[in-house]
Symmetry: C2
């Protein structure tokens, strides 16, 4: 046995490993977060750590320069532990643990968007009324002449109040019934669910004023956002967001499924998202709202098909392998108790329905919140996540598809890419003449440490606008910020290490640009293919709704400039925030919304792009700035 | 801290306690079984232990003679630990842990009675058919042209097979579905419950031959009997019985409820019966039947109202306190998972319904099995347990009542009393002339160590028949076996210590006889009061069905002689074995039986004896051998 010390931030995590153990896997066992978007196969180069003492059996890969190797940088996924070691896990790798700038509703702007969505749903005639409520009940006290047992006494009264004959008292309520009745002089508050049956979930003292709470979760591949809600009036009691704890097992759904299929992997991924993401979120919100998590009686969750499957601990290989068969589209009424989230034991989990292996509940909930199903105008809804998902249609039809954008929007596959956390460049302009940049960083940090998705869009758009790169993404101007390596690969330096005191420059190179062009090409060609399958083109689009975590900082004009979004008038673009979260909120607080989402899921058609003729050609044609067919982007000036 | 060593049988249990801790409570914490029928209030004198070394702060009580005190005998419930001690827990106290001679169906005679009961139920037109079954299903394998998710694929097929539209796949089944389907080429065996909905409880490989098992439990205050059953054909796969682990917290329901109301008591009593009685029984039976406890999909349980409440961990004080209100009569469909019995997670627990605080599911199940509801003849059903419960009626009406017989039938409140375990005298005759006894012991042990219920009936009947005691239970003859103490209290020695090598004689004294006379008086006066409430007397009885653990060895003639059972022709008595167990078996394997038990419970009236005028007078009159009104017992010769 050897000892492995991971230095993370200011603190050390020490664990014991066998000689020959893989360093990344050791970190995962010790719950040390090292970013491994490619799931540890040496492809992405993100899992770099710095060896401070001891020895690792670790080859120098293409991701590590001679200078870096000399400084001690190693790729943890290809490193074997051969002695006691101390390694430093750099900030960029553990960054996802810090505050994620996800599109939750913590900013005034996001809250405004959220409230607008809710108002629009209500305007469509959908009531924000649900079937969970609290009923205060005063029972007659039993006597020798009135010896009905407690459960029948309560059931009779509830029938009298509700007019519903059948009353079911759940086991959780039954367990407390006798004591609560007697401690509160038979004056109690029942938490009930009303269908054709009244189900009593809980019994509390009559004077109890704790809200009947519900939980809304947007479970993304990368980030998780949640709301704690008062079920009786829809009020938001607390909100929070965090990263998805599964991320260290892979950045995208494919790598997560592969990991889940390894021995014990399914439980590992389930526990990662529950213990590291959902439970801390729930505890944080309950603390803020001063309630117990046992007062949460229902949970709605919008997640993609894979997230849904991994959350429930299901065998997920068939989702990833042809013919791509999920275990379920609809799986309502799952008892929370099986997930050990600490909520009320009779709480139910309602998942926004999936409609395919790659179009999940995040999209059915999001498409509902986009309201495109309620308008005559033809509109497109795009959710920009690790997978790009699209819905096209109006009040007469809806069609969906999904494309693999890869992790580039979240900073993966980009040498200085990072997620949208503190220190990331999130917007930038370039002076066309001097080629000098000016940028902003998340958290307004003094120096940038990397570039997040919206920053990359801006940089590429600006490099292209300034004629610094050409349509293929290759450098075509020279200057002090433009470097070329020994193989002739160009790069543009946004911040020099000597100016910021960092170990390396923050820059973007031709490989990065190429990776990003593929991501935007996937989104654009999906748009074109879906429209084309109906004999249409972007000119039919009367509106484009852009949603997702990346959307918040996105510059629509730049996104058009690089050929990611179709070239329609900018006022037809709306950023609609985290539509999965808004949709899941509506499903929680409004029974009609829930029915509507189910109805949309049933009626929405799904276009499998991989089997669609012409998709690959369309993709190749879109891998150019803005596009090989510049007629598609008349508004973009080609310099 | 001091160390406390309990020497039990050959082995030591060592635990740590604070100075001043109560010894009985310390034993309970260490899971050492010391018999404490009175729940540790110093009343019964059963919790004697022998101090081998160290010191206890322990007064000498009336239960301990000078000689015993000098030998180190102490009453554990009044002893405080004041130093490191070693105490011996005598066999008689831990006897209940050994094989209990309960009326399960392990003997050929009991099995015959059980089979007769089943045949009688079937003869009444009740089918042994239930709604749990296994269905083998071959699904089409999915393809790119047939991408229905697994759960819908299975649901469609089950609808096709059963003709029932709605199919619910439980979470336990959903979790396994994808893997089991693919590991068995889409040829699976579903365990389903069929109502107006098909509920899939489990999915197994098609070739799996494990039986779909169910569990039957008779949960008595003193003993627990169980059967493991094949749900598809009713076959008994295994049988077992044991003591109720709650017994160390009190011999009767009142003392158990008192204990359950103490801090943490409810969980303590729940765990005692689950961890010490039910789980070991289940494991033993599953091992014998070579199945996993996860293959048990349903459980029926017949227990009295208090046992039902304590099993579920309910607050039970209101059951014991006027106006005697239970939490429930009916509480079907309790998910087993809340009890952590290790059965299938979607299994349900079906309790035979209670009809009052003192007439519970043991009686509704038992009355069903007695079949008196199916005959024109007026009959009486008596379940002789710690509580005596009676049902009177025929196919037109049923009336029930309960009386507190106390622990005397099980050997409590009797100085040499013990439960029906090895070494107990279970039958006896006395030579009228010589007054010498001849007896049998359970397990045919060389020497008797005490007397169990059926033995006490015989001894009292024989003492009375031989004129050794009079109608008041006082000694009226002299002889070498008849002793008197300093206060003049008489006793009869069945086995002298010097003959058996034991520490004390096995004898019965006037206080014991008086206690037993009260117990039999309670049963007889309950019979008379219930009949009297309808203007009837025992002459109307065309049959008396005697059930219960004690019944197996009972001598009906002697029971009449002492005035416990009414004086009707002996051929009208039937011993019907453990009717609670037979009734619960029928409820498990036959849906019609379950409906019938529910119907009986709803229609059965309940007579509360404590508020019935004349009951107390009737009781006092019955506290005599055979009765103060000897006209009621014309067949009994009064010598």
């Amino acid at each position: 046995m050897v000892s492995v010390t991971f230095r993370v931030g200011g603190s050390d995590v020490v664990m014991h490993a066998n000689e020959g153990d893989n360093l990344l896997q050791a970190a995962q066992r010790a719950n040390v977060a090292i970013d491994a978007p490619c799931s540890g196969n040496g492809a992405c180069g993100k899992c770099k750590v710095k060896l401070l003492s001891g020895a690792l059996d670790s080859p120098q890969t293409r991701h590590i320069s001679d200078e870096e190797y000399a400084q001690g940088w190693r790729l943890s996924c290809v490193s074997k532990v051969i002695s006691d070691v101390v390694v430093e896990v750099p900030d960029i790798a553990s960054a996802y643990r810090s505050r994620m700038k996800v599109a939750d509703i913590s900013s005034p702007r996001e809250l405004e968007i959220f409230n607008n969505t809710r108002a629009e749903i209500e305007a469509a005639g959908i009531a924000f009324v649900n079937n969970l409520s609290a009923v205060r009940v005063q029972l007659d006290e039993p006597s020798t002449d009135d010896t009905m047992p407690d459960n029948e006494r309560l059931a009779w009264k509830l029938t009298e109040i509700t007019g519903i004959d059948r009353v079911v008292i759940t086991f959780a309520a039954l367990r407390k019934l006798a004591l609560v009745l007697r401690e509160s002089n038979f004056d109690v508050k029942c938490v009930i669910e009303t269908t054709d049956v009244v189900t009593v979930l809980d019994v509390l003292p009559g004077a109890d004023e704790t809200p009947v709470a519900g939980l809304v979760v947007d479970l993304g591949t990368t980030s998780v956002a949640a709301l704690l809600v008062n079920m009786e009036n829809g009020e938001i009691l607390a909100k929070a967001s965090t990263g998805n704890g599964q991320i260290r097992y892979g950045a995208d759904v494919i790598n997560r499924i592969i990991e889940s299929s390894r021995e014990g992997g399914s439980a590992r991924l389930q526990r990662a998202v529950i213990d590291e993401s959902l439970k801390p979120l729930i505890q944080e919100m309950c603390r803020a709202a001063k309630i117990s998590s046992k007062n949460v009686y229902r949970m709605t969750l919008a997640g993609n098909t894979t997230m849904n499957h991994l959350l429930l601990g299901l065998y997920s290989e068939p989702v990833r392998m042809e013919p791509y068969i999920p275990t379920f589209f609809h799986a309502d009424d799952i008892r929370i108790s099986a997930l050990h989230l600490g909520l009320h034991p009779e709480a139910k989990l309602i998942l926004a329905p999936n409609i395919g292996s790659y179009v999940g509940g995040d999209i059915t909930a999001g498409a509902f919140a986009s309201m495109l199903w309620n308008k005559e105008e033809l509109a497109l809804f795009i959710d920009l996540g690790t997978n790009g998902e699209l819905v096209f249609g109006n009040n007469e039809f809806l069609m969906s598809c999904a494309c693999s954008a890869g992790p580039a929007f979240e900073g993966g596959d980009i040498s200085c890419g990072m997620r949208a956390t503190d220190g990331a460049i999130d917007s930038m302009t370039i002076d066309k003449e001097t080629m000098e940049p000016s940028y902003t960083t998340i958290g307004n940090t003094e120096h940038p440490i990397g570039i997040c998705g919206s920053g990359i869009i801006d940089i590429i758009a600006e490099l292209f606008r300034c004629g610094i790169i050409n349509g293929k993404g290759k450098f075509s101007r020279e200057g002090r910020r433009i470097l070329h390596d020994e193989n002739g690969m160009g790069s543009y330096v946004i911040a020099f290490a000597e100016d910021t005191g960092a170990v390396k420059d923050v820059s973007i190179n031709e490989v990065d640009i190429d990776n990003f062009i593929r991501a935007k090409g996937a989104i654009f060609s999906a748009t074109m293919t879906m429209l084309g399958s109906m004999g249409m083109d972007p000119s039919v689009l009367e509106h484009v709704y852009v949603a997702g975590g990346i959307g918040s900082g996105i510059n629509m004009k730049n996104a058009v400039t690089i050929g990611m979004l179709p070239d329609i008038s900018l006022e037809h673009f709306s950023y609609i925030g985290n539509s999965s979260l808004s949709g899941a909120y509506a499903m929680l607080t409004s029974s009609q919304s829930r029915e509507k989402v189910d109805e949309l899921a049933r009626s929405m058609t799904y276009l499998e792009l991989s089997t669609e003729p012409g998709y690959m050609d369309s993709f190749v044609a879109a891998c150019f700035l803005p596009h090989t067919d510049s007629n598609l982007f008349p508004s973009v000036e080609i310099s």
